[in-house]
């Protein structure tokens, strides 16, 4: 009964969490140089359970519980990568990466260039970010723009389970340090994921919905909201294109510009703080790249510039929402809301 016909891969609907977990497992199986390291990823099975079951399957050498010493264990992963291991580091959240950032930015990102190409640092640093969980100011940040600014790093931020799988696979197989940004609010999101090996191309954005009136540019959790808003606005007769950046560094300026060249209007939707955030670069890129095709100013919908408060009432006010995005899209297109 076994046939060996080449078929299109089977597709399952799984969570973002499961996509990550399965991908880690597949890569651990595939390449013995891959190992996982981080706080509470083994016995505890991960703060967010991304590594559930992996210690049991692969043992403590492949799934390394580290003490609370982000600088130490991230740096140790760098060293291991220098001799050809392929560590996949979990930093519990992006907020704690500040303690390790000297190792990431002054060391992992620079070694290859600084040492004249003699060494590569094939490692992945996975970490979730994002607010909206009432984790308060120190635990709710979106500092992706910091990493996106740094030559020598690659920075990806998947928005779907399928991309989580394909970009993580690509990141692990890439010979450079890749910052792999997850988002707390995406872990339980479901999506269709093709079985088998899927390797994304780092550095490429995707048009995840086509439209003709306006381009929403977003990434990670924001893309989900952008798609939701685009669908809602369709009912009002607005045709919205959604660009999912996927890779923040390198940034796929061509895809962004091509989209806006077509639609003539752009709104950036981002979870980080407005000033000097990811959206600033997107807006600047559009302003420079397709100046003559732009029918209205590029607007940004971003977080209010405050340390995010714990109280739900304040957190809601501070974070960018679907409602704010709809409103701004209408403003840019100069259309009144349907019901008013």
């Amino acid at each position: 009964m076994t046939t060996e016909m080449r078929t299109t891969p089977a597709i399952r609907t799984i969570t973002y969490r499961q996509a990550l977990n399965e991908t880690l497992r597949a890569e651990l199986l595939r390449d013995e140089n891959v190992f996982l390291i981080g706080e509470e990823i083994g016995v505890f099975e991960g703060s967010y359970k991304i590594t559930a079951g992996l210690l049991a399957e692969f043992g403590p050498q492949r799934v390394v519980d580290a003490p609370i010493a982000e600088e130490g264990f991230v740096g140790a992963a760098i060293g291991a990568a220098m001799v050809g291991m392929r560590p996949v580091v979990e930093i519990m959240t992006i907020n704690f990466s500040l303690i390790a950032i000297d190792q990431i930015v002054n060391h992992a990102a620079k070694m290859r260039s600084m040492y004249g190409g003699q060494v590569a640092v094939p490692m992945v640093i996975r970490m979730p970010g994002g607010g909206g969980q009432q984790l308060a100011a120190t635990h709710s940040q979106n500092l992706e723009v910091w990493y996106a600014h740094i030559p020598g790093l690659k920075v990806v931020a998947p928005s779907t389970p399928a991309d989580a799988k394909a970009l993580l696979t690509a990141a692990i197989r890439d010979d450079d340090p890749v910052i792999f940004l997850e988002n707390l609010s995406l872990y339980s999101a479901k999506g269709e994921v093709p079985d088998g090996e899927q390797v994304a191309e780092i550095g490429k954005a995707a048009i995840v919905r086509t439209g003709t009136d306006l381009s929403i540019v977003s990434y990670s959790r924001g893309t989900t909201t952008a798609l939701e808003v685009a669908r809602q606005l369709e009912a009002e007769g607005l045709s919205i294109e959604v660009v999912d950046l996927r890779s923040l560094r390198p940034l796929d300026r061509d895809t962004i510009c091509a989209s806006v060249r077509k639609t003539g209007h752009a709104v950036v939707f981002e979870d980080d703080w407005l000033s000097y955030g990811i959206g600033a670069e997107i807006s600047a890129t559009i302003g420079e790249g397709v100046f003559d095709f732009l029918d209205a100013p590029v607007r940004r919908v971003a977080a209010a510039e405050v340390p995010l408060p714990y109280a739900k009432s304040l957190e809601l006010a501070a974070l960018p929402s679907a409602a704010a995005l709809s409103r701004v899209v209408r403003e840019v297109l100069n259309v009144a809301p349907l019901d008013k």
């Binding site: 009432q134 407005l274 109280a311 739900k312 409103r327």
Partner: protein, 368 residues
Amino acid sequence: MATNTRPRTADSVEQAEPQAAEPREQRGEPAGQLRSYYERMSLIRAFELRSSEMYARAKIGGYCHLNLGEEATVVGLMEALQARDYLFVGYRDHGYALMRGLSPERVMAELFGKTTGVSGGRGGSMHMYDTETRLFGGYGIVGGQIPPATGVALALTYRQKPGAEAEAVMCLLGDGTTNIGAFHESLNLAGLWNLPIVFVVVNNKLGMGTTVERSSAEPELHKRGASYRIPGVRVDGDDVIAVRDAARAALDQARTLRRPVLLEVMCYRLRGHSVVDPARYRSADDTAVAQKADPVPAFRATLIAAGVLDEAAADAIDAEADARVTAAVEFAEKSPDPSPDDLFAYVYATPVANAPSALPGDPVTDAL
């Protein structure tokens, strides 16, 4: 400068039953004092159990770490700390806030994210701060409190002379936290500059799911003072009197000799790391050991055996604690949520031109 008042939580109960009426003493301790310690431990226990319940009922959000099992440690340390002293804690800070004299109402209101909360609802469970009682913050970043605590101790050396009446700093941290760089850097500064600070390692034997032996190459954590010529002391954290005395001695040394101390307090975390952690990684044996050591029933039993309390009196104390927490929940429920109009209220202390105040989606300039 605040004078050395006793914590409010203790005061109110003690006034109801004046000390003179107490017949017995234990280990040289007046019975009233022992009872008061039990009252405090009972209050923390009741408060934390209710916090857990309120979290399950979604009244509390975010992360929520409890002092369950650490009550004797919390009460002993806070009894030793004077009102004029400064306190820095981690994120496991509810009990400390209560023992520092903050009402259960304000602590619960903070957990509920209300304006009446200790930090106005902006900090939540991990970030209790109260200037008046010199509770200088709960800190959510592991080890984040250690450098600022050291800095307050540094500042004290600018403003006062050492002596029995001098102020000192107590900085709490967990066992897992001793492995972070900030621990090393700060203890070195404190040792080098002779700062009046006591670093207290609350060794509950676990950092999340990781045992001390799996995280610290020298698991006898008090020995880590040696790298800075800071004396290390270990004490049984289930013994409220022992904790108090060790902390007093350490604070005395800090304030009179300006020599820091590293005090390691051995206790158990009774439940998971935070309210949502079922702690499945913990063996039945370990759990049994922790439960057996549980200082609240143990202390209750000791006091009953010694005749300081009888069952009825102990029950009354527990009921009173419970009632206070119930009142706190009611207070928190009724308190107002912070208004979005105040979102930007505390970003800066000194107002400056062009400080951002845009809400999501607002245009970047007014004058389009």
